[in-house]
Structure formats: structure tokens, C-alpha cells
């Protein structure tokens, strides 16, 4: 079968999906596929893959078929299995951008870094999922608290820490300590702004 794009070389890459209940296929040679950013032997990039397949369909069929993302996911998972058998795909990335530094969840996934403290406020759930996936940790912070900063934030952190200590004291049946911690927690809760 000849490549649908160059009409010259043999097609080795075949993409198939249902469009309006009809089977829609795309057959490409390795060169055209690579030109379009589809390289099964190279590093996998979902964003690039989506863009390139969308571009190809647009070019060849004059329309972006629905369900393209699902198809790309399937292709990607097949490539991922070939590269790393048993590897699971990362969960979908939300399209949010930090208003301060412009960092996105996708950028975090690629570089492992965020740009500013505001990123933690902009996409906290994604960061929690990211951490849970990479370190297996799902709990919140229970360590030291800075001496200065936003009063409400510090108060909230202090309450979280006290609650954790209270739970631990109850678990080890140290009720005397638990009572002291409970009183302390009540005192902070009654402070203005808590």
C-alpha cells in the first residue's frame, strides 16, 4: 500500500478510527510519519502526537474527526507498551496556566519543576496526584511551620499539625496529651481569622 501523503513510498504506519459510524483510515510511510512528528522509535510526546495526528487528518480529510484524543491515547498506549511493557499511562493533564509564571501541569510533568509558589495554588490537585504517583505520599504537611508569613496560612498549618498530633496521641491512648492538644486546638480555632 502506498503512503496517502507522498503517494510514493510504501505505507508502514496505519491509523484507524470510527468517524460518524464509518471506518476512517490513514496510511503513512515512515518518512511522512516522522515529518508529522509520529516516530514510534523516538520519545513519546502526547501533546505533539495529538497535534500531528490532528494536522494530518485536517490535511488529508479536511476535517478533524471527533474522538481523536481517544485514538491518540490508544496509539500512545500501544507505543508505551512497546517501549516499557507494563508501564501505565499518566492521568490526563488539565489545561491550566499559572497566572504568575505561566507554568502548566504539562510543563511540570515534563521538567519535574514548577515556576513559583502560585503554581501550588493554581493546580494543587494535579500536584497532589503527581506527588502521590511519584513518591507514594498522599498526606499533607505535618512538619515545622515558618515563624513569619501570612497569619491565616500559619494558623491553618498549626491547626493541621495539632490535629495530626492529637490523632497520634489518641491512637497510642495517651489521653492526657490528647486533652492538652485538644484544648490548644480549640484555642487556635477561637482566634480571629481561624
Amino acid at each position: 500500500m502506498k503512503c496517502e501523503k507522498c503517494q510514493q513510498r510504501e505505507a508502514h504506519i496505519h491509523l484507524t478510527q470510527m468517524v460518524d459510524g464509518k471506518m476512517c483510515s490513514l496510511h503513512l510511510c515512515e518518512v511522512c510519519a516522522r515529518d508529522a512528528g509520529l516516530d514510534p522509535s523516538g520519545p513519546l510526546d502526547l501533546e505533539k502526537l495529538l497535534q500531528s495526528t490532528a494536522h494530518l487528518y485536517e490535511e488529508l480529510h479536511q476535517a478533524i474527526p471527533p474522538g481523536l484524543a481517544e485514538m491518540a491515547d490508544r496509539i500512545l498506549s500501544r507505543f508505551a507498551e512497546q517501549c516499557d511493557p507494563g508501564a501505565e499511562l499518566d492521568p490526563p493533564v488539565p489545561s491550566i496556566r499559572c497566572p504568575v509564571c505561566g507554568c502548566t501541569p504539562m510543563l511540570l510533568r515534563k521538567t519535574g519543576q514548577v515556576g513559583c509558589p502560585q503554581c501550588y495554588v493554581t493546580f494543587p490537585d494535579f500536584i497532589k496526584g503527581y506527588l502521590s504517583q511519584r513518591t507514594g505520599v498522599s498526606g499533607g504537611h505535618i512538619g515545622r511551620i515558618p515563624r513569619q508569613g501570612d497569619r491565616v496560612i500559619l494558623q491553618q498549618a498549626a491547626m493541621q499539625r495539632l490535629q495530626h498530633e492529637l490523632d497520634a496521641a489518641v491512637a497510642r491512648e495517651d489521653y492526657e496529651t490528647a486533652a492538652t492538644l485538644r484544648d490548644e486546638l480549640q484555642r487556635i480555632k477561637q482566634e480571629p481569622g481561624a
Binding site: C116, L131, G140, R144, G149
Partner: protein, 346 residues
């Protein structure tokens, strides 16, 4: 690795110069805190300058004398500085064995190192340095994520405690993988200093920084270190009873270092590691090199090419120089031993 793990910081005990510390199994302990100013972009140049103004001895790497930088790195206080960071980053010694580095992965990196197994001293020092800086800098913090860092896997307590271990007994027993698995199961990272697992030096440090307090993390690390130390001592006792393989390793290392004319850094460290074991096991033997000489030779082996093994291919001149330098250091008689012999004669 997307900054997901701590860098395998390497330090030899002479860098700490604490002769009283027991470095037979645990060479050194280091604690690092990562902090960033609130309401600023991470690694913001203006914020960096403001922070630097509060550190009296702060020197940018672009103006730092190579000798000073080398001393900081050999002391384990300075991680390798990437070329891109050299333009804006810098460091300041705030106390003996404690340094504050600005502008690396995070705006503020505070690190302290102590010889042997000792997490209390570095913990106190980094806390003191952190508190002193906090007089001028408000740290980025959130109740859920703790201290906020550029790499979210460091957020929380934003602290890494690392121990540098010498485990020839367990290495000879080929327990590297078992140790790694045990450490991972307990939330720690364990790795040898070379990719092949031939050199019996390793680093153990905490992986998770969220969900447990600093004190709890240090307590767990302490338990883990004591367990590994015990296992290593048991292994060494076994090899004392069945010394054939131990003797073979040591004799090979001695012969190689005595006769080789070209020695790579990895070879040097590997052979010196087995000589270190000999120096620990048989300190009185005439043929055994003195422990301080072996440690000094190890430092020299590292100094010639920095701290990483993944450097460019070395020239034969460097390898030859290293071979000669190692022979000279190992042939030296230690001052202490000479005095002891003199006293006996008299």
C-alpha cells in the same frame, strides 16, 4: 530524573576533620534544607540579590576562587554547579561545615555535614542558619504542601538527610539489591556511588518529604542506619572467620595500586575501598596502609576529577599522575605509627 531524587553527594571523613567520629561504617551525615522566598518566582534574580545581601560572606561562583569552590565541594557542602547556574548562583559559609548556596535548584539551599553517624549536629546547624535567614526572608509555605520548592517532590519539610556508608562486608556478600529494596520499602533511597555496584561506598537518604515531620524522618533514618550498621558488622565478622574472599579482594587491590601505571578514578576508588577495609580490620599489620593515608588517597582520587564518575574521558597523563600520587600517599608512614615504634624501642 526530573529532579526526583537527591544527588548522590559524596564526602570523605577527612573533609570534616573530626578524628573522634566513628567512620568505620558511616562516613558522614549531611542535612540539606531547601527554601524559597514567598511571593517571588523561583530563582528570581532580584529576590536572589535581596537574599544574598543578608549573607555577609556571600560570593557568586563567577567571582569565587577555584580553591574555595573546591574546598566547599570536597567538604560535601556544595553540589556540582551546572555551567548555566554559575552566572547567577553563589555560596556563603555560615559556620564550620555549614554553607548556604543561593540560586541552584531552589533559591536557598542550606547544607551541613558531620563526620560519622551524627544527624543532630547538622540538624541544629541548618535550623540555626534557616532561622537566621528567616529574620529577613519570608519563606514560601502552604499548609498542605509545607515549604514550597521548585521541584514538588521536595515540598513539605523540604529536607534531605543523607548518610554516606562504607559497606565492604555486605558488598562482598552481594547484598546491594537487598539493601536497596529494604530502603525503598521504608521510604528511603539507597544507591552505590558507581553504576556497576563494584565500589562498596553507598548513600542512603530520605526520599519522601511530605507527610512526616523532620524529627520523625530523622528517627526513621536513624533506625535504618543502625540496622544497616549492625548487618555490616555481622558481615565483617563472618568474613573475619572466612577470610579467603576478603583477602583476595585486598591483595588484588594492593597489587593493582602498587604496580599499575595508569589508574582511572573509578579504579582508584574501588581499590582504595578494599584497602580501607584492610586498614580497619588489621590496623597493626605492617603491610596494611594507615587509615588516614587511605582516606587521604581517596580524597586525592576524587579531587583530580571532581565528585562524579560520569566525566569526560581522561587522558593517560591524568591516569599516570593519579597512579603515582596514590603510590606515594600509600607508601607514606603515618606520624602516629612512627611515634609508637620509637616509644617501644626506648
Amino acid at each position: 530524573m526530573n529532579g526526583m531524587t537527591w544527588e548522590p553527594l559524596w564526602v570523605m571523613p577527612p573533609a570534616c576533620a573530626k578524628k573522634t567520629a566513628d567512620t568505620s561504617v558511616v562516613l558522614a551525615t549531611s542535612i540539606t534544607l531547601y527554601r524559597n522566598p514567598a511571593a517571588e518566582k523561583f530563582l528570581d534574580a532580584a529576590a536572589l540579590e535581596k537574599t544574598a545581601a543578608h549573607l555577609p560572606d556571600y560570593t557568586p561562583f563567577s567571582k569565587m576562587a577555584p580553591q574555595t569552590e573546591s574546598t566547599l565541594r570536597c567538604s560535601g557542602l556544595l553540589p556540582p554547579v551546572p555551567p548555566a547556574a554559575r552566572l547567577h548562583a553563589g555560596a556563603a559559609m555560615v559556620e564550620a561545615d555549614t554553607a548556604v548556596v543561593l540560586g541552584l535548584d531552589d533559591q536557598i539551599t542550606i547544607r551541613s555535614v558531620a563526620a560519622g553517624w551524627n544527624c543532630e549536629t547538622p540538624w541544629q546547624r541548618v535550623r540555626a542558619a534557616q532561622d537566621a535567614l528567616e529574620e529577613h526572608v519570608t519563606y514560601a509555605f502552604s499548609p498542605d504542601f509545607g515549604f514550597l520548592t521548585r521541584c514538588p517532590v521536595h515540598a513539605g519539610i523540604a529536607m534531605h538527610a543523607v548518610t554516606h556508608l562504607f559497606l565492604p562486608g555486605l558488598w562482598l556478600w552481594q547484598q546491594q539489591e537487598a539493601l536497596r529494596e529494604a530502603a525503598t520499602a521504608c521510604g528511603f533511597a539507597f544507591a552505590g556511588i558507581d553504576k556497576d555496584g563494584r565500589i562498596p561506598f553507598a548513600v542512603l537518604g530520605n526520599q519522601a518529604t511530605l507527610g512526616l515531620s523532620e524529627e520523625e524522618m530523622l528517627r526513621r533514618l536513624s533506625t535504618m542506619v543502625q540496622e544497616i550498621r549492625q548487618q555490616e558488622e555481622q558481615a565483617r565478622a563472618y568474613w573475619r572467620e572466612h577470610p579467603l574472599r576478603m583477602d583476595d579482594k585486598i591483595a588484588t587491590a594492593c597489587a593493582r595500586l602498587a604496580s599499575a601505571r595508569l589508574v582511572t578514578e573509578a579504579e582508584a576508588v574501588e581499590h582504595l575501598a578494599w584497602l580501607r577495609w584492610q586498614a580497619l580490620e588489621t590496623p597493626a599489620a605492617a603491610e596494611a596502609p594507615a587509615l588516614e593515608n587511605v582516606d587521604r588517597a581517596l580524597m586525592a582520587a576524587f579531587k583530580q576529577n571532581g565528585t562524579a564518575f560520569d566525566h569526560a574521558v581522561e587522558s593517560d597523563d591524568v591516569k599516570a599522575l593519579r597512579a603515582e600520587q596514590l603510590r606515594n600517599i600509600l607508601a607514606e608512614k603515618p606520624a602516629k605509627r612512627k611515634t609508637a615504634v620509637k616509644k617501644k624501642k626506648s
